[in-house]
Subunit: 256 residues, 4 copies
């Protein structure tokens, strides 16, 4: 999909994302959106497409680093829970507690017992959240290995992206099938009535983002942002110019 | 500035932002960038331009909501300090402790004594951080009132942005001069050798973003991202396709 | 019970509490002990009897203040969860999540729906913790109203304790039966196989403490603290005296 | 000092500690008390003597465990700051940020540069707290090596205390003079007008505790706890007895 077309289709969705945020704020709703999926599938881009139109004081990206030694010994969900939203807030999880059933399982960072216990606890844990009124959306971003390979190559060659790539990522390329199996096992255990999974094809990332955001919006109640109940009266005086006495602004970046 | 031109100029800067992140990671550097400025100046857009090219596990946006009743009684800096970075991390403050000298001072949410004490403490506090090795950058985004008025009007009329606008924002439009005075007083107190302010003209937000990022990069040591020390060997087998047994992916959003 | 006798009986239990702590530390055990019960029953004294013999770096008293406005809108268990122990740690909850079924229910701070939802969630929540290997002990401290009245009077008259008493406490004196009913309802919902309740008669607080600690120790595996695997060699030099050059110590409090 | 005498002298001080807590609560005061000193000097006992008479919801013991890998790379004071009190709260630090100038310096866990930087920053840091209105008390507990040796031996032989002893503690016995020197250097740097140190002789721990608490109380404004402004009316009905339907209380611990 061409960028122009993408932006034209995205724009009305952004309006509706703004409505979603307004609605959440006015009604004390708590929204959690989990983004999981293949390496390179496009989680970050999808999160940014949503985050960039919302008020940063209302929306939080939770992208946890690896656990500390103490955290590793705690209840598995413990370190994720402080990121759950208060009334009117939205949390976007870039990866999530599902790490345990994905990368940790495939790469052997968790034992089979730990993975099995996770798969047993996760539907119970999520049911507590949804019973409590949290709106929980779980998206899994898919792409074929051919696409994934292309994107790995691009990262390898693009200095803007190269530093995101590690030998471990490279080593994981062989494990496409193992990731598929881990995902299917995870879906079997955690695709529940109250917290279902939604899979989105991200072979084309722009179409993927539109599909994901469109689905999210369809599942929320429609709510128009009301006309402001105040007016922007004309200023009483002529608009002022910036004036500087202590520090002068930088010379603008040359653009000729 | 046209979008095309902006993107062309931004691209090489994004490469260098990636280098910055890599350098911070490899050398255990801690980077704090404060974004302050007029309402509507473009803090969020500047933050997103940087955040979107970095690894979300390495960079954090700190956009604090209003303090709780208990937090209001604590040492003023206390609630900001947990957001300071560990080694290899970057924190982008969308507004910051400078709230006290800006909106809180102008709108009367803080007493004159509180503002004065803040202005006395802030250079001492920041010196502790920079003495400890934190790289602290402080940007103040400027725009003339005419621009600000246009953007207020745009927010008022655009349903994507309308919900960001409150009667209080509208009421603050008259206080352009008061904000200028508060800023100059703040600059006098906190434009220090170890933690200087940089003012950037955001009358044109695209030029503003380029100017800000260019300045940031100029002040960091140059460091090329090294060639990867591993290879992407060809896959041993034919690339796999996604296969689904539990849940099928969504039908892609119609694009015809 | 006389103080002398109490202390004689307590001493060997303190040895075994020390063993418990050592065992937890060496085996990465996590111990949670909940202290609930009537106002004035003696929760604080029981907690101190355990806390005072343990290493403060290993044991934590969690006595939460009332929730902030934001916390009130979160998942009810959310603010308690950060206090759950890491490997080798012990948390003593002075009141706990059971507030919702006790004081909040009786005094009307929570709606009937909130209380019912709590009673439904609490066994599920606790099962997750015990399935994860947390050792969870729940003690409810009982006393007759006559005792409670005496202690209220004592608090009222003793300047050391008077400030602990509020008009609300005084108002709760009439609600002895309502508290009994709330407790019985709570026990019905949460006295589970994996997380049973233990009721302890605290009409005599010294006997109550001995009974509680004795029960706790009985339910833990016996484990002797091994002989130290190092020696305290005699000092190479004569023992030194304190010497002061900057600040002199205070004159000891007169004891004649 | 005999226990009886100690308790008789302590009792009126406990009344005044209760007054202190009441006064802090009513006036929104924040109190920080740092307990530092020799190994075995009696920090824990002194803290418990104060903690045990106060409302656990108002007073917090901060006994930090060793820092995580991430915390080690942060601004040194960062992990202590979340424990600073809100209005009406009291924090008792069992060891504190002064670790850097004590054990970390003597045992070589911190470099000379880190210790020097700490000694430079600590008076500045503390001045910020006291300027902000925090009441900061710093006690250093002294004892001669002969006492320390006796207590080490007691710990070595007493199964209740043995587990508190590690080979490292044993190894530190030789370093009495090094600790003295480190303390004197620390006092020189941090015995400031706004945050002075108080040294207390803990060769006799009971006298030490009385001396410390007496000093603390002397430095606070006197404030009587007012008579309650409510009455304890007689109960309308006969006092009730406990009744149990779901779980019966434990048989009281045999005392014959």
């Amino acid at each position: 999909m061409k960028k122009k077309e993408y932006e034209k289709l995205l724009e009305p969705m952004q309006t509706r994302l703004a409505e979603m945020a307004y609605w959440a704020q006015k009604n004390g709703k708590r929204i959690v959106i989990i983004f999981e999926g293949r390496d390179t599938a496009g989680k970050g881009g999808a999160i940014n497409a949503i985050h960039n139109v919302l008020n940063p004081r209302q929306v939080q990206i939770a992208a946890l680093t690896k656990p500390s030694e103490a955290e590793k010994t705690q209840w598995y969900f413990q370190r994720y829970i402080p990121h759950l939203p208060s009334a009117g807030e939205i949390t976007l999880f870039d990866r999530s507690w599902y790490n345990r059933a994905g990368v940790e399982s495939v790469m052997g960072f968790a034992t089979k017992e730990q993975v099995d216990q996770f798969l047993e606890q996760v539907p119970i844990f999520e049911k507590q959240l949804t019973d409590d009124g949290i709106l929980l959306f779980k998206y899994w971003l898919c792409c074929d290995q051919e696409q994934q390979e292309e994107r790995f190559k691009e990262r390898f060659e693009d200095p803007r992206k190269r530093y995101k790539l590690s030998p471990m990522d490279a080593g994981a390329r062989d494990k496409y099938d193992a990731y598929t199996q881990a995902r299917e096992k995870m879906l079997k255990a955690s695709h529940t009535k109250n917290a279902p999974w939604t899979l989105v094809d991200f072979n084309d990332q722009k179409i993927g983002r539109l599909t994901l955001i469109h689905d999210l919006l369809e599942r929320l109640p429609e709510m128009k942002i009301p006309e402001p109940d105040f007016k922007l009266d004309p200023l009483a005086e002529k608009p002022k110019k910036e004036k500087y006495s202590v520090v002068k602004p930088l010379k603008p970046y040359r653009t000729e």
